[in-house]
Symmetry: C2
Subunit: 294 residues, 2 copies
Amino acid sequence: MEMRQVRYFIAVAEEENFTTAARRLNVSQPPITRQIQQLEAELGVELFSRGKKGVKITSAGQAFLREAKQIVNRSRLAVERSRAAARGEIGTLEMAYFGSPIFSILPRLMRRFRDENASVSISLHPLMKKEQVEAVKDGRIQIGFGRYYPFDPDLSIEQVADEPVMLAMAASHRFAGRDTLSLKDVQKEPFIIFPRSGRPSFADETLRAFHEGGVDPRIEFEAEDLSSALALCAAGLGLCVAPTSVAGLSWPGIRFAELPQLNVQCPVSCIYLADNQSPILSRFLRMIRSVDLV
Amino acid sequence: MEMRQVRYFIAVAEEENFTTAARRLNVSQPPITRQIQQLEAELGVELFSRGKKGVKITSAGQAFLREAKQIVNRSRLAVERSRAAARGEIGTLEMAYFGSPIFSILPRLMRRFRDENASVSISLHPLMKKEQVEAVKDGRIQIGFGRYYPFDPDLSIEQVADEPVMLAMAASHRFAGRDTLSLKDVQKEPFIIFPRSGRPSFADETLRAFHEGGVDPRIEFEAEDLSSALALCAAGLGLCVAPTSVAGLSWPGIRFAELPQLNVQCPVSCIYLADNQSPILSRFLRMIRSVDLV
DNA sequence: GCAGATCGATACGCCTATGGTATGAATATG
DNA sequence: CATATTCATACCATAGGCGTATCGATCTGC
């Protein structure tokens, strides 16, 4: 069965007249006759009863007509959907994150993207940085978020935000209540740094900034991630440097203070295939770049 | 967009390999390349990304694939449905009735037909005999049921049942309670006959039978139809001859008695186009003829 | 009742477009 | 580095689709 036969059939069925259908289809009448004959032969079914004066659709023809309309509708849909997908208007954005971006900019980005691209669904995977690189390379995800990605020739690494940091301490700490602290205030304090794995990391950047400020902090613990670090911090085991955005959330037993002398780069970056083929990802990146992310 | 392109596309999409797809489709590889190229050109969309080593389907291709599968499914359905319709296995049987058949054999016929043809829906219209003839001729209905149809060259008239009759009387009538009556018993009684319109009719047949039995009944009323006749009868305005099957129903205030001496033909017939084109009707007629309808 | 109009089917020639073979370019494989 | 694999391209033969012309049947109008 060929599409042409379906189209011709629908025209004839609706006109109940071969000649009129031919005019409507901008072809002459004989081709209509032949295509309908071939269709009937293939089906083994009489679609029109050629009675005296004109043709009439049979019940088999009516049954075929219903399906035929579905076929052309689906064809139209196929065109529209594939074009929309090519423009990145429909489909799925597979993304991954590691660490604190899930607390800060990621929710805002996802919200904004969904608002502007209602027909694109987002799938979010928690993945270590190393797993993210693999997943991006073999197409399981299109983009990964995290901090401090190592260089990779196949990947584009793009910084999407750079936050200041704050100092976290237990609510019972003697500095709790102070809005601002100096490096001198904290130079004797025990510190908790994170994350433990995946160098280079925020931990390295924190240490670098302390040394730059002339302080050699006492590292009491290396926590697995931000949540663990703040838990230890709340237990009074030390102070902790954390991105500002997480200070916006309420952490039980934690107080935050500014530490303006500490020059920490706290960037959130994303990675994606350097030769990005995904129109959805292109849309997402365009949005990221257009948004002011503190 | 042509069906061939859709079929080729699906094969390539599923194999993610032009050469393998070509083997599966029993064609050589170049035609595959060309058809896919043409499809992409028509859509204005890249369906496969030709990267180093092999091809990979794009997101647009995946979107198209989903619709493409729907298209071939619909095509298969179109073939199956139209063939089933041609065999009379699906569709609608449009039928009409006039008068008492609705109380007797019609429910049984419809029930039986539905049991054996679950996918055929039945549409039932109450239509005068004259309207039935028109409706059959211009295809609005396929079959009409009633009694005493006049001859018509375009129509087949087929008797489907022939019932004996009983005598109906008011529950207060002096004969009420008697199982059997003779012509002599009732020769002085007033009678109600029906229907009033649509000669020849059951009324004519009733009168003929009385005359044949040597009785010239006193016609008190000519009722519109069976229901009206029995209503008048229940009011004690006269006796009424009715088909046996309606005696099976319970009519308030009515008693029935047999009248064996009255030789009434009480046939139920149906009419349909002499050159019947409808496979559903053929099925229905075959069933009617195979059923024993008393 | 006959001429003309209408409608679908058929015949035939032209040409598009499909498929096949051969081959090229790029890349993976051993 | 030679070979194999894979998709794209070139070219040819041909199947099949379209248009013109025409037929046969039926309906219409005078």
